[in-house]
Amino acid sequence: MSYTELTVWTRGIIMDKEGRDIVNSVAASARLEGKFAQAMENYVDNPDRTNCPTRKYCRVSDSVIENELTYENEQPNIIVLVEGTMVKGWDYMRGMPPGGTLVINTHYTPEYMIRFVPGAERLAQLVCVDAAKLADHKWLYYRLGELGLDRLSTEGAAERNKSIAPDIAAPLIAAVVKTTGIVKMATIEPMIANKHAFRLALEELHIMPLNPVAA
């Protein structure tokens, strides 16, 4: 029986959709594969406040999810930092069981980034991907107009681009799926709007193997 928790750390409003797209696409793919899955992406962490750290959660299980009403993932196996500077400052690694995966959106290497990771001994791998380079350096600039509306606490209702992962979420999803196998590549790829960035990322991941879990 397998049960996997994925927690995405992102920034309120400016990268809110990016975080949501990751958990929603993974959960939707898992359900297509006949698994039980949940994505929670719009609640406690004040997603309507600009730049504030917010979390998005996803759970994938072979059996029915009994802790359906528990908001936070208590033991995340996979953590994604949608914005690289989030690597410092708080303990996003808390609760991670041994053998976890950390994916960071950064142009730095894992060898450089690992010094900032609290409790890195729990990681089986640290994965760095330069999502902004692979997607579009100007992705945020294009969203400025709707971000202005989003500041009015519209909870994403003002977003014009309703497609899944048109921007930096695409390479991050590629990194999660390729390095963890939480869902099958063939299931999730058709959902991704920015297929170009998704495929580029599959070739351009910087993976640092760490402590594998003893079998």
């Binding site: 949940q38 406690v44 802790n67 359906e68 528990t70 908001y71 909870e155 209702a157």
Partner: protein, 402 residues
């Protein structure tokens, strides 16, 4: 008003807030009044998108506060419109003045409540205190435990509230986050089914310059009691209508709900949980696990609290030895010094020949999920009470005791 576009039955994955908005769309509401407060905001946003996309032809009015929101809803309903509004937490409180006038003028306004803890502190979590504090204002009221039930309850509430024998407003409540922001599969019906179930709304005495009527005039004190009695009778008479509407709903949509109480694994149960809303989801899992271990525990979920099914509660709960009321609301200084459900349960049981012990649990406060081990702990407390033949104390604060 033109009817909603013809749509075929389909299953979608949506949360409780969107399910409520979908129900309003299917009900082809005429006027929506809105003012943002989380978690209700998600319903307001979904409706705004439907109106903007042309899926729903309705007046969409963003008020300057919840008080205005309900005032506009009152006015719109008085002119004969089918009205949809909603709020959460302190928003529900700010509109308090309007609840009695709306039910007193017998306007079947529908209000979606996505529960939120009252301040302080500013907490997004679900406690039922916001809506429960208005429970005696003449609004029909009940809780859903998932998005499908929320959708269904909204449709049924319009049908019940608009029945000429009832004509009362409805609060259709769902737990904030636990229902409002968790997605699940929801079957949206054929528009034809809804047309069959919910006829277009026609208020008998709308404000109309061509046929002048008076609404809400100043009256003399002796004119008050008959009006109050009439409202009280409407609430009582609604019980038969509620049962009839649930039957018709089952016949048309194929989902049958007991209008008052859901019993889960109560066969042979000696101790039972009594609660409203979403925590039933975890309770069911916990009870299954405890049943596997041979514990005689079950669940009784209240689906409608206003009108309160006194006789049914008495009949059902008298079968058991101990009832554990899971409050999820605050009744500071109340009968049990815990929540307000305790007194509702005890009052219903007073006339019973076989009264179970009743204990109140303050759990899920602040919108915390009630986790499996807390249900196990509460069951232990109930079993100890059963063994000793008396309760240790009326109210336990779960998580604050050994």
């Amino acid at each position: 008003m033109p009817t909603a576009t013809e749509v075929k039955k389909r299953t979608v994955r949506i949360n409780g807030c969107v399910a409520a908005a979908q129900a309003a769309k299917y009900a082809d509401v005429d006027v929506i009044t809105a003012y943002p407060i989380r978690p209700y905001t998600a319903t307001m946003m979904a409706l705004a998108q439907m109106v903007a996309n042309g899926e729903l032809d309705a007046e969409y009015i963003v008020a300057d506060s919840e008080h205005s929101q309900l005032s506009i809803a009152h006015g719109a309903a008085s002119s004969g419109a089918r009205v949809f509004t909603g709020s959460s937490g302190v928003g529900v409180q700010f509109a308090y003045e309007l609840y009695s006038p709306i039910s007193g003028s017998r306007m079947p306004v529908q209000m979606m409540i996505a529960d939120r803890t009252l301040d302080p502190p500013g907490d997004f979590g679900s406690e039922h205190t916001d809506a429960l504090s208005t429970r005696d204002m003449g609004w029909l009221m009940g809780w859903s435990c998932d998005a499908q039930e929320a959708f269904d309850n909204h449709l049924m509430a319009y049908r019940i509230g608009e029945d000429p024998r009832v004509l009362l407003p409805q609060m259709v409540c769902q737990d904030g986050f636990f229902v409002s922001h968790i997605t699940s599969d929801v079957e949206l019906p054929d528009s034809g089914q809804v047309k069959e179930f919910l006829p277009p709304y026609k208020h008998p005495y709308p404000l109309d310059p061509r046929h002048p009527v008076s609404h809400g005039p100043q009256i003399m004190p002796e004119q008050g009691p008959p009006l109050q009695l009439e409202r009280a009778r409407a609430m009582e008479d609604s019980m038969a209508v509620i049962e009839q509407v649930h039957d018709e709903f089952a016949n048309i949509f194929g989902r049958r709900y007991d209008p008052w109480i859901e019993e889960f694994m109560t066969d042979g149960a000696e101790v039972v949980f009594f609660l409203q809303g979403a925590h039933a989801v975890t309770a069911r899992f916990a009870i299954q696990h405890m049943r596997d271990k041979g514990l005689k525990v079950g669940l009784v979920r209240l689906r409608t609290i206003r009108p309160y099914p006194t006789d049914r509660v008495k009949e059902v709960l008298s079968k058991f030895k101990v009832v554990g009321v899971v409050e999820t609301n605050m009744g500071l200084g109340s009968v049990s010094s815990g929540g307000v459900l305790y007194s509702e349960v005890c009052a219903a049981l007073y006339e019973s020949q076989q009264r179970p012990l009743v204990v109140s649990f303050m759990a899920g406060m602040g919108g915390e999920a009630i986790v499996m081990k807390e249900f196990y702990w509460m069951t232990q407390k109930m079993m100890e009470a059963q063994k000793q033949g008396k309760i240790e104390k009326r109210t336990h604060w779960v998580g604050f005791e050994e």
